[in-house]
């Protein structure tokens, strides 16, 4: 089976390369869990907002609240913490030309309510529920309501509208996790097949999970997980300090630093799973048209000190930005993308060479026009982050106006208004497709990419990635795409690769933090 071989190859490659410099770490010196892991332990978790009530019920709802869902509902293919593809409810999969993927399903699996897992559940989930719900995976993967066919009880075919070699990498997203045939999220969560089952659920308040001792895979190391949804991050931290919870998700960077110094607690960090990226608007209209000038784009990229940015904006809980996606997903090809150096003098010389001259206040001027840019960004980008960029650009002779959005709709409004030159986003890599983000945002044939798309050779690379037969081929094409966007065209300026941060009592440990929070399985969670 090609896919399995690829997964093994990628895993081996990762081991050889050593992946990221910021490997998974415990932030607290001398706080390794003492004592033996207790298999009957109950772990109380403080999580953020419960997404399910907000997403609504029925087909359009996501499969329960992240990051709980992948622990209750298994996908066909699981995304490993090294972004490799691992068998889930499908044990193997093969591509059959021209556009069909055949998945061989795991036998002997039962849902938490005792219902046996078969191809009918896959057809329901992917052929009815997912496609009608128009979720992320179906939209990007070319599936229609008729795409999924049952061949026999343990074999299904996925036939896409156009050949899609990336399908197994895309359907790892937990949105596509398998739900029992005919069941949906109408009044309570349906049964899954995952390592935990839901005992009780109070929307917006709490959910109680217990270990599924009949799980087909590796069993969880704790008996029960009780989630309390606490939307305010500071409240979550205080709950940990008070001892009312054992474990906190989405730890704010500032608290990671303080908790890391306290021997009663442990901070576990994943490798970078999401990136802070600046996209430069190439197609703006005056006065937001300076991004069309390659010299301006290059100067902006050279002028920003990523290290200072990471320290100031994220309290050091990130790697200086180099790629558009996590390094691990690019495999050995990651080395083809360079870290853009911090060189203020070179930034100035690039501008000078293109006819820009410093004005009386140090800001460059050309043909009577000052080099003034406007930046917008996702609501989670901190003031400190924007200020570092503003200060660095000022040093390089570029004035920057910050339009900070208070919330997501406000940001979306700014974005749609197109009155900006730079757009700071924080996208996640939640699937196994190395080309996911470059293609989504930069491929000229995709909707909404006109502000950035370089076209030409980049589009050829995108198509090459889409039709790549092997994992190294798609990784190579993806790295080449990023190289063009980051090192050649300066359309994308990576600022930081962000760690996932978890806070916990010193007797609790998470051995394998996943860079993608939506794919975080709690199988390695222990409590003494």
């Amino acid at each position: 089976m090609r896919s399995k071989a690829l997964a093994i190859a990628v895993t081996a490659t990762m081991a050889l390369v050593g992946c990221s410099s910021s490997s998974t770490s415990s932030g607290t010196a001398g706080t390794t869990a003492s004592g033996k892991s207790n298999p009957d332990a109950v772990v109380k978790v403080a999580a953020g907002e419960d997404q399910w009530p907000v997403q609504g019920t029925g087909a359009k709802s996501t499969t329960f609240a992240y990051p709980l869902n992948v622990n209750v509902y298994d996908p066909l293919v699981i995304l490993g913490s090294d972004f490799s593809l691992q068998p889930g409810l499908a044990t193997s999969w093969d591509f059959m030309a021209p556009s069909t993927w055949r998945f061989h399903l795991r036998q002997g699996v039962t849902f938490h309510d005792g219902h046996p897992f078969t191809a009918d559940d896959v057809v329901w989930t992917w052929g009815v529920r997912q496609v009608k719900g128009q979720t992320l995976s179906t939209v990007s993967s070319g599936l229609t309501p008729d795409s999924v066919k049952k061949i026999d009880d343990f074999t299904v075919d996925f036939t896409t509208t156009t050949p899609n070699l990336r399908l197994p990498e895309q359907i790892v997203h937990p949105e596509g996790a398998i739900v029992e045939n005919g069941k949906d999220f109408d009044s309570s969560p349906p049964a899954g097949t995952g390592p935990f089952r839901v005992v009780s659920y109070q929307p917006g308040r709490s959910v109680d999970l217990v270990r599924n001792d009949a799980y087909w895979g590796k069993k969880a190391k704790v008996k029960e997980m009780v989630y309390q949804f606490l939307p305010d991050p500071q409240t979550r931290v205080e709950a940990l300090k008070a001892g009312t919870v054992d474990f906190v998700t989405d730890l704010p960077p500032a608290d990671a630093t303080s908790l890391g110094k306290d021997s009663q607690f442990r901070v576990v960090k994943s490798k970078p799973g999401r990136n802070q990226l600046i996209y430069v608007n190439k197609q703006g209209t005056a006065p937001f048209d300076l991004g069309a000038d390659p010299a301006v784009r290059q100067a902006v990229s050279l002028a920003i000190d990523r290290k200072t940015y990471v320290d100031a904006a994220l309290e050091g809980n990130a790697d200086p930005g180099r790629w558009m996606a996590p390094q691990a997903v690019l495999g050995t090809s990651a080395g083809e993308v360079s870290l853009v150096p911090f060189e203020t003098a070179k930034a100035k010389s690039v501008l000078t060479a293109e006819g820009w001259t410093p004005g009386s206040d140090g800001i460059f001027v050309k043909n009577g026009r000052r080099l003034e840019l406007t930046i917008i960004g996702w609501a989670e980008v901190t003031d400190a982050g924007f200020q570092v960029i503003q200060s660095d650009l000022k040093d390089a002779g570029i004035a920057l106006t910050i339009k900070k959005a208070a919330d997501t709709p406000t940001y979306n409004n700014y974005y749609a208004g197109s009155q900006w030159d730079l757009d700071l986003e924080v996208p996640n890599q939640n699937d196994g497709n190395p080309a996911f983000l470059p293609v989504l945002r930069m491929y000229s044939k995709n909707k909404g990419t006109q502000r950035f798309a370089p076209g030409g050779a980049f589009d050829s690379l995108a198509e090459q990635a889409g039709s790549a037969q092997t994992r190294p081929e798609v990784q190579k094409a993806s790295a080449d795409m990023m190289k063009e966007l980051i090192d050649t065209d300066y359309i994308v300026i990576p600022l930081a690769g962000i760690y996932r941060l978890y806070g916990m009592k010193s007797g609790v440990n998470l051995g394998d933090p996943h860079p993608s929070q939506t794919n975080q399985l709690w199988l390695s969670l222990t409590k003494t």
Binding site: S206, P231, R441
Partner: protein, 314 residues
């Protein structure tokens, strides 16, 4: 009395109409397009096309003129239908009903705390005018009224949950979980009411009938409580109307910080999602609560002071 009550309720109609219109207009002016948010929700992961936004606008009825949208909403509202939440796809009235209990519980406890602390504080301050008790109340009033709710909430959590470990940090589990959010909500009103009561008491205690009461040989406590407090409560009752209305509306800060599943948190979520019907429904509900509570407060004047007839007071 019944006629007066009917008049007051009738007067509430234009108030609520004006309020609903104002909120409808203000939400429409807020940055962020609900149709875009709706389209993104059904097509996450990337940008949405103008066609998707157009479709969302049609589905949500946002392609109609402002007046038609408002008229349509109003038509439903008078029949008890507050529309469907854009983000949750559930009836707004159901969302309010489900959250009202938690907010009412929190409001009731906060109100009880306010009464328990504000009344004695105000009375004692008046009795010890310009002495230590009075000065302490002044300091408390100033601090209590000027402390931001979020700051007070975290201070209370750190002291009572993290340090002393006597109360839960957040959530709605068990009787004790209401204490910290209720105290957070009660401190401000307590400071205001105590200060107001002190002033009213000082005024009342200088009245001639109080001197007469003393002249009859009544004890100080009886004079202050029976003759003084009762008359001083009239201006305080007016303020209580506003306080109760605000508490029933739900406190956004307290409910978010303490993860209290009430109306305040729902308002926060509705604004974050640009969920027009949800926010509109919640604001109109809050307006209705204000009106009803204030009518009840007006009625209470007749019980507090028998010289005031229902017709005269209202």
């Amino acid at each position: 009395m019944r006629g007066v009550l009917a008049r007051r309720l009738l007067l509430a109609v234009p108030t609520l109409l004006a309020l609903s219109f104002l909120i409808f207009a203000l939400i429409s002016l807020a940055p962020g397009d609900p149709a875009t948010e709706y389209a993104r929700r059904t097509s996450p992961g990337g940008e949405v096309t103008p066609a998707q936004v157009d479709l969302a606008q049609r589905q949500l009825g946002l392609n109609r003129s402002f007046v038609v949208q408002y008229g349509s909403w109003l038509g439903g509202a008078v029949q008890g239908r507050l529309g469907r939440s854009f983000s949750r796809q559930t009836p707004v009235a159901r969302e309010i009903r489900e959250r009202l209990g938690a907010t009412a519980e929190l409001a009731a406890v906060a109100l009880i705390l306010t009464v328990i602390f504000a009344v004695p504080l105000g009375v004692v301050a008046a009795m010890f005018h310009r002495r230590l008790g009075d000065h302490v109340l002044r300091v408390f009033s100033l601090v209590g009224a000027s402390t931001p709710g979020f700051f007070l909430a975290y201070v209370l959590i750190i002291i009572f949950a993290v340090r002393l470990k006597v109360l839960p940090v957040a959530g709605k589990q068990g009787v004790d979980s209401v204490v910290l959010p209720a105290v957070t909500l009660a401190v401000g009103p307590t400071a205001v009411v105590a200060r107001l009561l002190r002033s009213a008491m000082l005024e009342v205690l200088s009245e001639s009938y109080i001197v007469t009461a003393y002249g009859k040989g009544l004890g100080r406590l009886r004079v202050v409580v029976v003759h003084g407090l009762r008359n001083a409560l009239i201006p305080v009752a007016t303020v209580f109307g506003s306080i109760i209305g605000a508490l029933l509306e739900g406190s956004i800060i307290a409910e978010v910080v303490f993860a209290w599943p009430g109306l305040g948190r729902l308002v926060y979520e509705g604004i974050s999602e640009r969920d027009y019907p949800l926010v509109e429904g919640l604001v109109v509900f809050a307006g209705l609560a204000y009106v009803i509570v204030n009518v009840l407060v007006d009625l209470s004047y007749t019980f507090l002071d028998r010289r005031i007839s229902a017709g005269a007071s209202l």
